[in-house]
């Protein structure tokens, strides 16, 4: 459904996004009318102080959370008009997530974690396994296929999470501090990988980061403050 979006076309239109949490009878306003346009193939970094709402923003964008007001259009279609089942398929086919705390499934091996999106999509098992191995090879983990997350280092886990986010060939990658707990060298390597994917497949990148040096690698830099997104 979104396959026809060519590089440079408008991919995401975010208008007036509002989100607040109720906490002990108090309203915490996190997003206060965030607007943003993203074109297909863009590489974007998002920075902002801790607690400014970056993760919340990504969650709403990725349809994991619902906004109180505002709209998100993906390839021209309002995504919150979809049914829960349609949203699930949308997430499966269009979005790749890397969470702030690189959430892997602890009971499954690295390979199984990477195969999961394909399984959910009900692709043939053989294809899924082949793609999973290729992807893990790409992130340099072909020697750790059968290790469980608990048996991997933090950086390795991060790389498995990225492999999992990219394996199904999503349109956009929403990465929440993908290199947060990696040393500089490894962080650079991960970013090289992301750039490479962007070059090869036109993958759109929206990466939240605290590191200004990494942010500077991105052609488009955004800053989050007061519940809004601003160009830097």
């Amino acid at each position: 459904m979104t396959n026809e979006v060519a590089i440079g076309d408008m991919l995401v239109e975010i208008r007036g996004l509002e989100k607040s949490y109720r906490w002990n009878e108090r309203e915490i306003s996190v997003l206060r009318g965030a607007d943003l346009d993203i074109r297909a193939g863009e590489r974007i970094s998002l920075t902002g102080p801790s607690g400014s709402g970056k993760s919340t923003f990504l969650h709403v964008l990725g349809t994991l959370d619902e906004p109180d007001a505002g709209s998100v259009k993906f390839a021209g279609r309002d995504i919150f008009a979809k049914s829960p089942a349609e949203l699930a398929t949308f997430r499966n086919e269009t979005i790749g997530f890397v969470f702030q705390f690189h959430h892997l499934l602890p009971e499954f091996s690295a390979l199984e974690n990477v195969m999961m999106p394909g399984w959910i999509h009900r692709d043939p098992r053989g294809t899924v396994e082949r793609r999973g191995k290729e992807m893990l090879d790409l992130v340099g983990l072909s020697h750790r296929l059968d290790h469980r997350p608990g048996e991997l280092s933090g950086g390795e886990q991060q790389r498995v999470a990225i492999a999992r986010a990219l394996v199904a060939g999503p349109k956009i990658l929403l990465a929440d501090e993908p290199t947060g707990n990696l040393d500089e060298e490894n962080a650079e390597a991960i970013h090289d990988l992301l750039d490479e994917m962007n070059q090869k497949t036109g993958l759109t990148l929206l990466v939240v980061t605290h590191s200004s040096s990494l942010a500077r690698r991105m052609p488009r830099r955004l800053h989050m403050a007061d519940g809004r997104v601003m160009e830097e």
């Binding site: 969650h59 398929t89 959430h103 009971e107 999509h121």
Partner: protein
């Protein structure tokens, strides 16, 4: 200010709940009274009253629903409170009747029955109130027509189909099978369709359909009791109580099963029957529950032995089966096993009793009013040729006393057609000593012990018993001590049970006296009882103490003479080839014999108390054991809820990768089903195994306490199948709630925590 508002809201809500409860209370009291009266009298005015009350109830619920708009919830809780209050009030009123409330007072039902019955009025109240509330609540309005159509379709088809079957085949069994299986199937289907159409589990609609359906069944049976319920020995009170709860509860369960299946298959927006990755994930969650990383275990200690490795693989830290899983499976397994073993033993007892009763008793007995049953042989001829009848024989039955040298006992004297081989087949098999044919030819009875050789009274007990047990009777020459009547005639023979023989201390060949209640004439001390002497021609052992202590068989003619029933019989008894055919045979026999003054009864009717007691006992046992399975399934619920809580983050991750709610539900249903099916299968194997062991090696019973010396076991295939099915259904029901909770978790929950 905020607190103020909250308090106000709280009181408003409570007030509304109480008002609703009161409305339900008052209205359903009215309805109950009217339905009560309707059942008793059945006038049009009362039916109108019932409809009016129902309408008012609907309106009340509607008003409440409108006022509480937004939540879209049916006020089930106030409804329940209302129902309970209603029951309490009605109970108090019934216990302390007053003239003004006389409509509640019926004759002497037990307290429990009163509680149950009054509680049963709560259901219609709940159904109507909820329906009204649902009508009034905006959000469910859209699916209400669906629910209404479903209810009407269910009830209409059930009754219509039953009526049609009744017209076409006139087979009550068929109609019953239809009603139950059809209703079950349609409930499943309706639940499925609801979930299919609404793309969600539709719990509100399901509850509505179940309540509405249950209520309509209850109401229609209550109003048209006489025409709908026939040939049932259960009191009306109990039937109605059962109907007030059972259809609603059972249909709710089945609807939930159907809906959850529908949701799992259709919830992702397209037909998706695959369980491929859900199975993988579910299995992993079950098995990896206590898993720790390889490295820590692998490096420790030397390699354990085979046995330890097996134990470790089940319970160890790296177990492939988690302890929780094992415990859950064992719970279901034990429940199923207990059910199978206990019910099989009870079936065994019942079967044994049935065998013995059917063996010793007639299967069908024809009696005649009054005491001039002379045409018995004619009647015998008429019914002999009925299909399925093996034998027909006339008999005379009367009470008497029997005396021996050392004792006196009461007994039932039965005159039988000794020459009729088919009719005496069973007695011939039960004969322990002597022979049935001695009744026809009493002169052949071997001789008695010489009078001089009788044991003295001090040692009579032991000697007597030893004498009975020693098979010395046949070694003696025949006719050695034939006692003759003064007129040179031989004494007639009698066959008595082993217990009676033991009590009288007699054996084959001994003489006993039969005392008849029919007087022979007036003596100096009043009416003189008639005494006849008989010789013991045989001793039987049937295993049924009622027979072994109380029955004596004599030749028909002897009995007629003894009881002064010249050429008359007490009745004609029939034995059939297959006891399961008895109902049809009875119909045919009735037709041939004609009605008054004859009455035809079969063995079930004659032993009604015994068999209904057995049935009741079995039912009670079944219910108790089902509770075991219920407890086990609660174990499943808690295990799954724990896993769901623990896996909050994993569920969120799966959803973020695009797993649908239906898929998440499948993941947990798979786990529940593995526990349920695994436990049921294991229980089935263990239960049947135990039964086979008991059958093969036997468990001894104290024969003095029980009438039987080893534990009888009869395994009924249908029963065992039903137990397995019930266990799986119950465990499946147990998984629905946790699986639903997991499926409905919002993806963002669980992503925040590290």
């Amino acid at each position: 200010m905020r607190d103020d508002e909250r308090a106000r809201r709280f009181w408003r809500r409570t007030g509304r709940g109480l008002a609703f409860a009161a409305a339900v209370l008052g209205l359903s009291c009215g309805l109950a009274a009217i339905v009560d009266h309707q059942m008793e009298a059945g006038t049009r005015a009362q039916a109108a009253g019932a409809s009016l009350a129902s309408l008012v109830m609907l309106a009340g619920g509607f008003a409440l629903g409108v006022r509480g708009r937004g939540g879209g919830k049916i006020p089930l809780l106030p409804g329940l409170i209302g129902a309970v209050l209603l029951s309490l009030a009605a109970f108090i009123v019934r216990m302390f009747p007053s003239p003004a409330l006389g409509m509640f007072v019926t004759e002497g039902p037990t307290a429990v029955a009163v509680v149950l019955r009054t509680a049963s009025f709560g259901l219609p109240a709940l159904a109507l109130g909820s329906l009204g509330a649902a009508l009034g609540t905006g959000s469910t309005r859209a699916s209400l027509p669906v629910a209404a159509v479903a209810i009407l379709g269910l009830v209409g088809l059930q009754f219509g189909g039953a009526k049609l079957l009744l017209e076409l085949f006139y087979s009550p069994t068929l109609v019953n099978v239809w009603s139950v299986s059809f209703a079950a199937a349609v409930c499943l289907l309706v639940g499925f369709l609801l979930a299919f159409l609404l793309r969600r589990l539709a719990f509100t609609e399901i509850t509505l359909v179940a309540l509405g359906y249950g209520f309509l069944i209850y109401l229609s049976v209550a109003l048209f009791y006489e025409s709908m319920v026939r040939g049932l020995d259960v009191p009306k009170e109990q039937v109605l109580v059962a109907l007030a709860f059972a259809p609603a509860a059972i249909s709710l369960c089945l609807l939930a099963v159907g809906a959850s299946l529908g949701f799992m298959l259709m919830g992702s927006g397209r037909f998706d029957p695959s369980f491929s990755f859900e199975m993988t994930v579910g299995l992993r969650y079950l098995s990896a529950h206590t898993r720790v990383p390889h490295a820590e275990v692998a490096s420790s200690a030397p390699r354990p032995g085979v046995f330890r490795r097996v134990v470790l693989s089940i319970f160890g830290p790296e177990a492939s089966v988690s302890v929780i899983l094992a415990v859950s499976v064992m719970g279901v397994c034990l429940g199923v096993m207990a059910l199978i073993v206990v019910l099989s033993v009870m079936s065994g007892f019942e079967d044994d009793l049935k065998q013995k009763i059917l063996g010793a008793h007639a299967h069908i007995v024809i009696n005649k009013k009054g005491d001039d049953f002379r045409e018995y042989s004619d009647l015998e001829e008429r019914v002999k040729s009925v299909d399925g009848v093996r034998s027909a024989a006339s008999f005379v039955l009367g009470e008497g006393m029997v005396t021996s040298d050392s004792n006196v006992a009461g007994l039932l004297v039965k005159g039988i057609e000794t020459g009729n081989a088919a009719a005496t087949e069973r007695l011939r098999r039960d004969i322990d000593r002597g022979s049935v044919d001695f009744l026809l030819r009493p002169e052949d009875i071997p001789g008695a012990r010489p009078a001089s050789g009788r044991p003295s009274s001090t040692t009579a007990d032991t000697r007597g018993q030893l004498g009975l047990l020693a098979p010395s009777d046949f070694g003696e020459p025949k006719n050695a001590g034939v006692e003759s009547l003064p007129g040179g005639r031989v004494l007639p023979g009698i066959i008595i049970g082993r217990e009676l023989a033991r009590a009288l201390r007699v054996r084959v060949g001994d003489t006993v006296g039969l005392v008849s209640p029919v007087s022979e004439g007036i003596g100096p001390t009043g009416p003189q009882p008639k005494i006849r002497k008989f010789r013991v021609g045989g001793i039987f052992f049937s295993g049924l103490s009622e027979f072994d202590t109380k029955f004596g068989y004599v030749e028909l003619a002897q009995a007629q003479r003894f009881f002064g029933m010249n050429k008359k019989a007490t009745g004609v008894e029939l034995r059939v080839a297959d006891v399961d055919d008895t109902p049809w045979i009875v119909e045919e026999v009735k037709r041939r014999v004609g009605g008054h003054p004859y009455s035809v009864r079969d063995w079930r009717e004659m032993n009604k108390e015994l068999f209904s007691a057995l049935l009741l006992e079995k039912l009670a046992m079944f219910i108790i054991l089902v509770f075991i399975v219920l407890v086990a399934s609660f174990n499943i619920v808690s295990t799954l809820v724990m896993i769901v809580l623990e896996k909050g983050r994993e569920i969120a991750i799966l959803k973020s990768m695009g797993a649908t709610s239906a898929s998440i539900m499948k993941v947990f249903v798979v786990q529940g089903l593995i526990v349920g099916v695994g436990g049921a299968l294991l229980g089935l194997i263990l239960g049947v195994g135990t039964c086979l062991l008991i059958q093969r090696y036997g468990v001894g019973l104290d024969a003095d306490v029980f009438y039987i010396d080893r534990l009888p076991v009869v395994m009924d295939r249908a029963e065992i199948g039903l137990i397995g099915l019930a266990a799986v259904v119950i465990t499946y029901l147990a998984t629905i709630y946790p699986a639903m909770a997991a499926a409905q978790q919002r993806p963002v929950e669980g992503l925040r925590d590290e």
